[in-house]
Symmetry: C2
Subunit: 349 residues, 2 copies
């Protein structure tokens, strides 16, 4: 399988992206296709130590989707961007997945145009992998859809469950619906509708979960609408950064240096502690519900994050994720009758 990597997307592109992709081609022993400005990509490749050049190829494209551009504008007016070209390779069968650290809304939009969506899916979701002390939790949606219907939340649950099982190897992932209390009747109409659908679906559904349950091991799949998920994700990012800074500055301020020595002594443990909550361990967030495989990465992804995202794409392809999503959705489509209310797409991340 070949992974098409958008070499131009992200704060540290093309350097971090090219390095991460090349490392992934070595570690996972699969070819990568770097998509973007050929001279820039070649310049980065030239700086790297020896690697198997037969595993790395380039697809030239001339433009990049800026982070402030709207996906709909990009779709209509920007031709030959690296994101579009990457999806073009998937459509043509020369690659099997797209990984981008660039514009996630545009990655979704061009993906929809290139490979469509799976039957039974109103809108694909962006699912994040949340590292916790008791293992990863898949959270969807985290920014592709807001004001979701009960049907949509249900679809996120079905798809995230398949992803957690196949791509993350969680044996029997439990699905929880994020709400403001555990009781069945909590929340608004879409939440209560999603609750009923999940109950009837045969999925291992633990019911409503609260924000704190993401860390309690109660569920390995946490469902919410894209507004809530996006705010949570960014909140966690901000808190994490603020905490790290505060801890080292408090330790440094200690007059007799004892705390500072203690801080240095437990540095390895602090590092492992941070690692447990480090998104870069997974690297990419899958777009679930597209007719093909797409992963988006944080804009500030390092080479390591890119490498891990390509690794996640590789595993997902080997496990035939998209085919299993299609099959997982099929028997549940009869549950989703009634009037449709499809969320507005948002352009959050």
């Amino acid at each position: 399988v070949t992974i098409a990597v958008d070499a131009m997307g992200g704060d540290y592109a093309p350097r971090a992206v090219v390095r991460g992709a090349v490392k992934a081609s070595v570690e996972f022993d699969e070819p990568v296709l770097l998509v973007g400005d050929r001279p820039a990509i070649e310049a980065e490749l030239g700086k790297m130590k020896r690697f198997d050049q037969s595993r790395v190829s380039i697809k030239h494209s001339t433009r990049v989707v800026g982070m402030n551009e709207s996906p709909s504008h990009a779709l209509r007016h920007l031709a030959d961007t690296s994101i579009e070209a990457a999806w073009g390779e998937v459509r043509a069968g020369r690659a099997q997945a797209v990984v981008s650290c660039g514009h996630s809304g545009a990655t979704m939009a061009f993906g929809l145009r290139a490979v469509g969506r799976l039957p039974g899916v109103d809108r694909p979701a962006l699912a994040a992998i949340w590292p916790t002390a008791s293992g990863p939790v898949v959270m969807a949606d985290v920014g592709a859809n807001m004001d979701c219907s009960g049907e949509q939340l249900f679809q996120f649950g079905v798809m995230s469950h398949v992803f957690a099982r196949l791509a993350l190897g969680i044996e029997n992932p439990q699905v929880g619906l994020i709400n403001i209390g555990r009781e069945e009747n909590k929340g608004n109409e879409p939440l209560r509708r999603a609750y009923r659908l999940l109950s009837e679906s045969g999925l291992p559904f633990v019911g409503n979960i609260e924000g704190k349950d993401i860390f309690s091991g109660l569920a390995q799949v946490a469902i919410c609408d894209g507004f809530v998920g996006n705010v949570l994700l960014k909140f966690a990012e901000g808190w994490e950064m603020s905490r790290r800074r505060l801890l080292s500055s408090l330790a440094r301020r200690d007059k007799d240096k004892k705390s500072w020595r203690g801080y240095l002594m437990m540095k390895p443990v602090l590092r492992r502690h941070h690692q447990v909550f480090d998104y870069a361990e997974y690297g990419g967030a899958p777009l679930l519900g597209l007719g093909g495989l797409g992963l988006v990465c944080h804009g500030s992804s390092t080479a390591k994050a890119v490498k891990n995202a390509v690794g996640l794409a590789t595993v997902s392809l080997r496990q035939r994720l998209v085919e299993h999503l299609r099959e997982g959705l099929r028997p549940l489509r009869h549950l989703m009758s009634g009037p449709k209310r499809v969320s507005r797409p948002v352009e959050a991340v």
Copy 2:
């Protein structure tokens, strides 16, 4: 001023509540009125060291609102609960504020019945004080209202701004609207409406903020609907607990004990670090928009948290918070014309 404290509410009631309230009566030099089962309260008071008994009185009541009871049920069918009796004292002018670690929905409901709401307020909000490295951030709503209208979000902003200024002493608190991006047009219709109202209000409005901005010092007031706020609050609680456990267990597992020694050496710094993010430093969350002052505390509040909540109530009364809320809302009521869509009350916390 006298603070009526619901002595029967909370996981550690009446013990922690009585102890906290008595300590507050000493530290803030104001009388407290303990409301609840007289024999139980007297038994706790009997165990305490000497204190000024003229500062502590008891109002007997026979019942307690259970945490699983709905506020509407409590309103209709439960007579003479400690929450109702506490608000009764406020209504009768024998107390000026209610503090409860019990059922927050019932504290709101009985408060509405006893003292009503301020003109221009559709529904009172529950506002949490979020401790951050750059000082406290007032977040509203955190669980009293979901699916809020733009007008309601705006009201939360107006009231939280007054609270941040008077009760927390923040000089010129900046107001931010929690959204999935900084751009003006982000979010759904209520968010865009709230954005316009806040822009026109003359408040120091910094615009949309993201989840991570709660820690960036960009705003000291963060506005969201009660669903988002409640999930965030509980998420943070769960993460905090999970992190503390993980850090000590990682340090303990270190074979050559170096990390563990370092951990012990920096214990004071870790404590200060936790303290920065410790809700108990403020103790209570105000119900903003009632015709009187009410604060609700976390169910697992310690005596220290109760003491600080009574302290916050004392400061709020001295600063004439409710009167200033009334005055702060008055000139803005002309902005809130048009059809009303009032959120459903929820019973989240």
